[in-house]
């Protein structure tokens, strides 16, 4: 059987990185117990409120975020700094690199 060719863009999406200790963030958003797609909507909204260079921490227990948040960073051009696994939730760290967000459809 032929292995399907995976494009470079798809490969780039796989960038999950665990980190050993939490990072000091400029803003934290707690969406523990919220389900899909809240993590994608909240991260978009909260990143808009930050200045370029600032770090956002997203606290969630939603497993789908492990795939979605790094992929979101690639799509929007923000930096995924890593994910810290706390006892009952994950802490995702994202550095804002750009004012642009591909989810914003209002403009």
């Amino acid at each position: 059987m032929q292995i399907p060719e995976v494009s470079s863009k798809v490969q780039n999406n796989i960038q999950l990185r665990f980190i050993d200790k939490p990072i000091e963030a400029d803003a934290t958003t707690d969406i523990i117990y919220m389900m899909c797609p809240m993590h994608l909507l909240i991260i978009d909204q909260k990143t808009k409120e930050l200045k370029v260079g600032q770090i956002l921490a997203v606290l969630t227990d939603y497993d789908g975020a492990l795939e979605d948040i790094p992929a979101w960073c690639i799509k929007t051009g923000n930096e995924f700094l890593g994910v810290y696994e706390a006892e009952d939730h994950y802490k995702f760290y994202v550095r804002k690199l750009t004012e642009k967000s591909c989810i914003d459809k209002e403009t």
Binding site: P4, E5, V6, S7, S8, K9, V10, M35, C36, P37, L40, L41, D44, D61, Y62, D68, K75, C102, I103, K105
Partner: protein
């Protein structure tokens, strides 16, 4: 500009007779149904009449209907209520990959609470094979929940067969029939369902009114504790006008169902056959076994959202799929599970018709839709092909 509403799976306007029936319960008959004096008795009678006609729409008994606030609440109630009521018997639940988020996210919540969930695959039309359901059953299985008809791709599932398997195995069976009740005949008896969710605004009733059918003798853990409303299974003073509206809408849906189906089916077929004439437009969902007023497509090289904006500019209102795809720009899980390549899933559009849709509207749509596709393709960066954006793990289908 003429406005053409083609998003009836999102919601529907109130039927004028429904509004008429509801109004007195905002005004003179404002009593609390639990009160023992006249205004309370009036409200209670109204609720019980609504319960009877709501039950009648799905051929159930009145005491098997629990009024809720929405389809989403009914789905949450069914999944969590049955899981917690039966956790001593087992902790395994079966659902499909194309469930609504109110089922999907309730299942995820139950997984976090110690239950195991199997997510069944579907075929290229979105159909769940009853044989796969049977294979997924274990000694631990306490609940099977399968959607009756998908609001996103329109496919109607073989619920009666799945229900039969569940019944034979002694497993409780729930079906989310929000997109189907009021749009196709739904009779609870041949479906073999123990629970069934539906919502009033899908058949010209008010928003904020839903119901859960719960077969007599089935135990359920309430989501909301408090008073004795709904037989102690859902506390909180009843939304009397909304319940009355649901009852009236159910009565009208039962009376006019066949007429509504005949009307939308013709128009839908006309819409589909015309849209498929455009190059690289693919129908999603089953070509025949689908909701009568439902037409869903993926259009190659352009985004669903862009089509919606231009259509809205021409007065046509439609949808592009689930919240995941439209709000969070993530490929729709339903389209991915039927094997739509990720790059194509972005071009999803859903048109849903109703008894109010006219032939002229469809003609106008058929004229405008290909124009919009051409217009967008002219400016699409992918007009000459996808380049390395193409997801080659699946192949599109005409």
């Amino acid at each position: 500009m003429k406005e053409i509403y083609m998003d009836h799976v999102a919601t529907n306007p109130l039927h004028p007779e429904v509004l008429e029936a509801m109004l007195p319960y905002f005004k003179e008959h404002f009593g609390n149904p639990l009160s023992l004096y006249e205004p309370g008795i009036k409200a209670r009678e109204a609720i019980e009449n609504a319960r009877a006609s709501t039950a009648s729409l799905i051929n159930a008994k009145a005491n098997e209907i629990i009024f809720t606030s929405s389809g989403a609440e009914s789905n949450n109630f069914a999944l969590k209520g049955i899981a917690f009521a039966n956790q001593n018997k087992g902790k395994h639940i079966i659902i499909s990959k194309i469930e609504h988020h109110s089922i999907l996210n309730s299942a995820r919540f139950l997984e976090k609470s110690g239950f195991a969930v199997t997510y069944l695959p579907v075929d290229k039309y979105g159909v769940i094979d009853p044989a796969i359901v049977e294979k997924a059953i274990t000694k631990e299985t306490i609940l099977i929940s399968i959607i009756h008809a998908s609001p996103e791709i329109g496919t109607i599932e073989p619920i009666a067969e799945i229900g039969k398997i569940s019944r034979q195995k002694g497993i409780i069976f729930h079906t989310d029939a929000v997109a189907s009740v009021g749009n196709i005949p739904v009779d609870i008896q041949p479906l073999n369902a123990d629970l069934l969710s539906f919502a009033a605004h899908q058949f010209y009733g008010p928003k904020g009114a839903g119901a859960l059918y719960l077969r007599e003798g089935t135990r359920i853990v309430p989501l909301i504790y408090g008073g004795i409303q709904e037989g102690g299974r859902r506390a909180g003073t009843e939304n009397v006008p909304a319940i009355v509206g649901m009852g009236k809408a159910a009565e009208l849906a039962k009376r006019d169902l066949q007429e509504r189906i005949n009307h939308v089916k013709l128009l839908r077929d006309k819409l589909i056959s015309n849209a498929l004439k455009v190059e690289r437009v693919y129908l999603t969902g089953h070509p025949e076994q689908r909701l009568p007023g439902h037409a869903s497509f993926v259009v190659e090289y352009i985004e669903g959202e862009a089509m919606l904006l231009l259509l809205a500019g021409k007065g046509i209102y439609a949808a592009s799929g689930s919240a995941c795809s439209s709000k969070a720009l993530k490929a729709s899980p339903v389209l991915i599970s039927i094997g739509t390549p990720a790059h194509l899933a972005q071009g999803s559009v859903v048109f849903t018709l109703s008894k109010g849709t006219t032939e002229e509207e469809i003609d106008y749509f058929n004229e405008v839709f290909p124009q919009i596709i051409n217009q967008l393709r002219k400016i699409s960066p992918f007009a000459k092909g996808w380049g390395d954006m193409e997801d080659k793990t699946c192949t599109p289908r005409k």
